[in-house]
Amino acid sequence: MSWGLEGVSVTRGRTVALAGVTVPVDPSRITVVVGGDGAGKSTCLAVLAGLLEPDAGVVRRPAKDRIGYVPATAGLYTDLTVGENLAFCADAYRLAGPERSRATERILEQTGLAGARRRLGGQLSGGMQRKLAVGMALLHAPELLILDEPTTGVDPVSRADLWRLISRSAADGTAVMVSTTYVNEAARAARVVLLEAGQQLANGSPDDILRGIPGAIGSVRGPGRPGPLSWRRGASWRVWAPAGRLPEGVPPVPPDFDDAVLVAELSREQGR
């Protein structure tokens, strides 16, 4: 069964938080929602988790006890130990007997927190806290896992660990929806939805999105900005030619996901 949003719109006061957004979230697949602050990522996840009723559109999600959710905040009890946090989730999802012990040991092993079982949540590093929060959401082996910016503010090593945890869960059959502000993380997904101010700028597999970039992308070195349709990339500038004809002396380069996001935003600005 596939979960997700179909043509979902949410309005808060006079602000359109989501405008007809469609996000399929398939089992064994990771769907990443990418966007900047205020793009509508958290709203998207809140609607799928059932925290927010949309004004329009269709939401498909499993029963509450088959959902795992980690909010953008800590997502754990800092005054409980790692073991007690997991025990709370086990109680909440009515895990008992050998199933409970197996699930707890599995999560402690997968998160690398077995040695920190008796440490208070508040004493863990930021990365460990996020791993514990994701572990708590995975304890009952949910059908749908929803993670709101799980890697924001986390060190690169912990980020890699978190993605390993998320990928493993998808490999076990879970449908995963992750929001992130880190564009490079989108490449890890089976499907990427790019949001900006509640609008859906792009939606598809990373390859589809890269193939769908209109025109051509080139790269040129130099101190000055070559034109309005360009952006900094290390010591050089990326140049986008919507019609496909790059300026003289600007060699084409294969675009990556950063380029795709920027082109989508520039396209939207041009279309205004």
Binding site: A49, L51, G75
Partner: protein
């Protein structure tokens, strides 16, 4: 320094609830407590029994007393039951020999006022009046205060602690998680209250044991009746804390609101000032305070040995308050969970 002053003012301006409490609350409290703080007692409920009941009642027709019943056919036993059940504070038993005046010693101010007034109304040359103070013969203040103070302490501890429960989840961001977990609002509320209910019950026993041993307060009534009253009272006070928590955005607001609910209980519950002496405009407040009913139950059971049948009203009203407060907390919390995103 000016930078700090300006910043503080800007922050304060945005916290309208605090500003309102700082400006409006003192005036409200002064007016309410001013009308409530009254040691002078009048309209003391009285009953006269025995063959001379009519004549005794005629003597009591002063602003100090309010004769509730004149029962020439009844005797001392009936009068004692009326005093025990809290229907009257003064009973005049007439019959052979001089009249016997029975006074409810749990009503300190009323008894002192009644004694003075009775000395004036007794006709000259009449037979010697015998006065008997029941339940608290020495008019010991601690006997009256300890049963009430036990409730007051629990109101403070219980309401304050539970008022931080939901708001702490909100601030930590775990409220969203709870909303997605397979919990019903009433499960969360019950889960929040249950541990504190047990701790508060242990606390109450401890307070009473210490109070009884240090101040020699008697406990003449049924422990089970007291326990029932205490359980209902604790449910209301802890439920009030959770309700405060659900309507507060942060811990500061929760504590402010908790104090707004706690302060009136000190002065308007009948713990210090008799409810009957309060101005009618503020007396109604005491009728919605759980401590008012707990004091009736605790003093009634501990000092007077009131049976459950005589405590039907305070027990029933506490149960009603528990249903209303917990119901509101659940409704409010359901909205909270829905809006957690």
């Amino acid at each position: 320094m000016w930078a700090m002053v300006a910043k503080e003012f800007r922050e304060l301006r945005r916290d309208r609830r605090t500003v309102a409490m700082m400006i409006i609350l003192p005036v409200v409290l002064l007016v309410v407590f001013g009308y409530a703080a009254n040691f002078k007692v009048h309209d003391i409920p009285a009953v006269t029994v025995g063959p001379g009941a009519q004549r005794a009642a005629a003597l009591l027709r002063t602003p100090t007393f309010r004769v509730n019943a004149i029962e020439p056919g009844a005797g001392e036993a009936a009068a004692r039951i009326r005093l025990r059940d809290g229907q009257d504070i003064v009973a005049i038993v007439t019959g052979s020999g001089g009249p016997l005046v029975l006074l409810d010693g749990t009503q300190l101010f009323a008894v002192e006022t009644a004694e003075t007034a009775l000395a004036h109304v007794a006709p000259a040359g009449s037979a010697a009046v015998r006065v008997q103070i029941l339940y608290n013969p020495g008019l010991t203040t601690s006997w009256v205060m300890v049963p009430g103070l036990a409730g007051l302490i629990l109101v403070f501890i219980g309401t304050l602690i539970t008022s931080l429960g939901v708001v702490r989840e909100r601030q930590a961001g775990t409220l969203e998680q709870l909303a997605v977990m397979p919990f019903r609002a009433r499960d969360v509320i019950a889960g929040k209250i249950a541990p504190y209910l047990i701790v508060a019950a242990v606390d109450l026993v401890l307070i009473l044991v210490v109070g009884i041993s240090l101040f020699h307060v008697p406990f003449v009534g049924n422990v089970a009746v007291f326990a029932l009253g205490a359980a209902l009272f604790l449910l209301v006070t802890l439920g009030m804390g959770v309700l405060i928590s659900t309507v507060s955005q942060n811990q500061g607001q929760a504590i402010q609101l908790a104090f707004m609910i706690l302060l009136p209980q000190v002065l308007l519950s009948g713990l210090i000032f008799p409810v009957s002496s309060m101005a009618a405009g503020v007396r109604w407040i005491s009728y919605v305070l759980p401590l008012s009913y707990f004091i009736q139950i605790s003093r009634g059971v501990m000092l007077k040995g009131m049976p459950i049948t005589a405590l039907g009203q305070p027990l029933g009203l506490l149960a009603l308050l528990a249903v209303v407060v917990l119901g509101l907390a659940i409704v409010r919390f359901r909205r909270d969970l829905a809006a957690a995103a």
